[in-house]
Amino acid sequence: MIWRYRLTLIILLLTFCLVVARLFYWQVVKASELSLLGQSQYGKIIKVLPQRGEIKTSDNFPIVANKISYLIFSNPKEIKDKNKISLLLSKILNTKESSMSAQLFLDRFWVPLKTGLTTKEKENIEKLSLPGIGFEKQFTRYYPEASMAAHLLGFVGKDEAGQDKGYFGIEGYYDRLLKGKGGIAVQIHDALGRPILSRTNQNSKETKGSNLILNINRSIQFIVEEKLKKGIEQYGASGGLVGVMDPKTGNILALSSFPAFSLLDFQDYEQRLYKNPFISNLYEPGSTFKPLVMSAALNSKLVTPQTKCPVCAGPISVSGFDIRTWNNKYFKDNNMVGIIQHSDNVGMVFVAQKLGVDKMVSYLSAFGIGDLTGIDLQGEVSQPLPPKDSWYPVDLATKGFGQGISITAIELLSATSAIANKGVRMEPHVVGAVEDPNGKISKIPPKVLGKPISQETAKIMTEILVNAVNKGEASWAKIPGYRIAGKTGTASIPVKGRYDVNQTIASFIGFAPADNPKFVMVVILDRPTASIYGAETAAPIFFDIARDLMLYFGIAPSE
């Protein structure tokens, strides 16, 4: 009898061990596999959308922000009456019925129909309760100031993988900082599709992009754009550029160029318009280059402001080429102050020849000519200076008055700012600070690039430029009561190996107030037709903007 009890006990124990072993197998050995299987059956992958960082002006106003839009998609396999749905949707979405129909008849589970729907449009379609239609939330770029500073900002397009990517300007240069990182979360649902609280796993962390705080002053940018647009129309120019910089820090306060493009509909514009001409287009600066050459000669003590020009009585011949003044007027024994005041090309040839090739190249390099300025925008170009041994005498002569040399507008602005800033050249910078997703702000400090001239030379050159404004060709446009230093420029455009005297780049560069400059600004008009001269086109625009800037900065007249 006892053996029966023992046998029963043994069988029970064996069965118990078998069950435990099987449980161990399924719950320990196969645990991870079953968990994944469970997630695939009951898990819903939630894409955590990355928000691209905002771009704000110096007053913390988001000039580039994000707004919510929707992608409408369909599951064609769930739509029975495809013709009716495609007709209805094409009317609501304002698309061609044929393309809508083609999408709905695809043999797929997921087909995108249109992006960029607003919340209201989405809600209107949702009310119709159409089968097989769904929405995906997206973030798209939004520009509260419309296309202000279009070239400066750049735009967001798609890369090869269909991900958002910044192109040109700040969006391009700071793309890595701005783009967020999308994450994935898996939520487990029960058999009825309801989420189970305890099982939300974040498989990867989502991070927002960093925000950028620019040095751009929104009010100054607005003033500049308004005046530049008005000036281009008034003088019949093909285009124009204006750049405003704080010479003491290198902060770019405003940067504008036309023709521009719409940031929202950039794809409707020609690609050649995407480049920022302020940093990407080379041009011959003409007489606005003279202050740099004159500063070099003054700093080298080769000339003083009172040095008389022995060759200024008439045109000068260099290697068989006759070099004349812009108006064929000549001033015998003109001094350096007069050479800048009258924008005397012959006088500048004299100064350039005094400098010689070695010193010319050395000083131009110190001013940053022929080099990238390092501005934090995508697309900057520069044309290196020719090697010293390739310079002919006529090259030295023409470069003395700003022809035969190609630079970008930012190079000229940066170089001239050294004169305004006691001889110290600062790196131009658009972004002033970076705000990380946690709200921590990291400021970008100003950077000194070099000191091409001494403080004393800078002061002398400033006075020469103030005299040029007060007594030169642009004196009619100057603002009374203010000491403004500046220089006009009228550069002929080379066309098919020759200079076309009827087509010019008219420009004006200057800084104010001369004794303690708050800003340095360059205005460039491309091929103005009302007049070819900088004194009659670019200079009035400069002073028009400068007048408003003086008011904005609260600078009282000093005279």
């Binding site: 106003f61 988001p62 922000a65 994000n66 707004k67 919510i68 919340t119 939330k137 939004y142 509260p144 100031e145 419309a146 202000m148 649902h189 029960d190 309801r194 989420p195 189970i196 609280l197 305890s198 929104r218 009010s219 607005f222 008011l551 009282a556 007249p557 000093s558």
Partner: protein, 94 residues
């Protein structure tokens, strides 16, 4: 009562009590998921509304809007200005 019987009764009581607790907790968890979903939906709708309102706010505070509205309301640019203070005179050796 003998000790083994007492122990068995206590164990059985614990098993029943823990099973009941498990049923209650599981029941609460299953409905908490629905509450979570509702809360998440509300949060999402507030976030969307917040973003849309911010978009409107930025529109109304943009300089382009202010400029066009102000010109429609009859505001004009300030053409005259005056200064109350003069800059300090330079100390010039006479």
């Amino acid at each position: 009562m003998k000790k083994p019987t007492f122990l068995i009764i206590i164990i059985m009581f614990l098993i029943i009590a823990l099973s009941l607790m498990r049923v209650i907790v599981s029941n609460n968890l299953s409905t908490a998921g629905i509450t979570l979903l509702k809360l998440e939906n509300r949060l999402n709708s507030y976030k969307i509304e917040n973003t849309n309102l911010r978009e409107r706010l930025l529109n109304f505070t943009s300089l382009s809007y202010i400029s066009s509205e102000s010109s429609q309301l009859g505001f004009v640019k300030n053409k005259t200005n005056f200064t109350l203070t003069k800059p300090l005179p330079l100390a010039i050796k006479q």
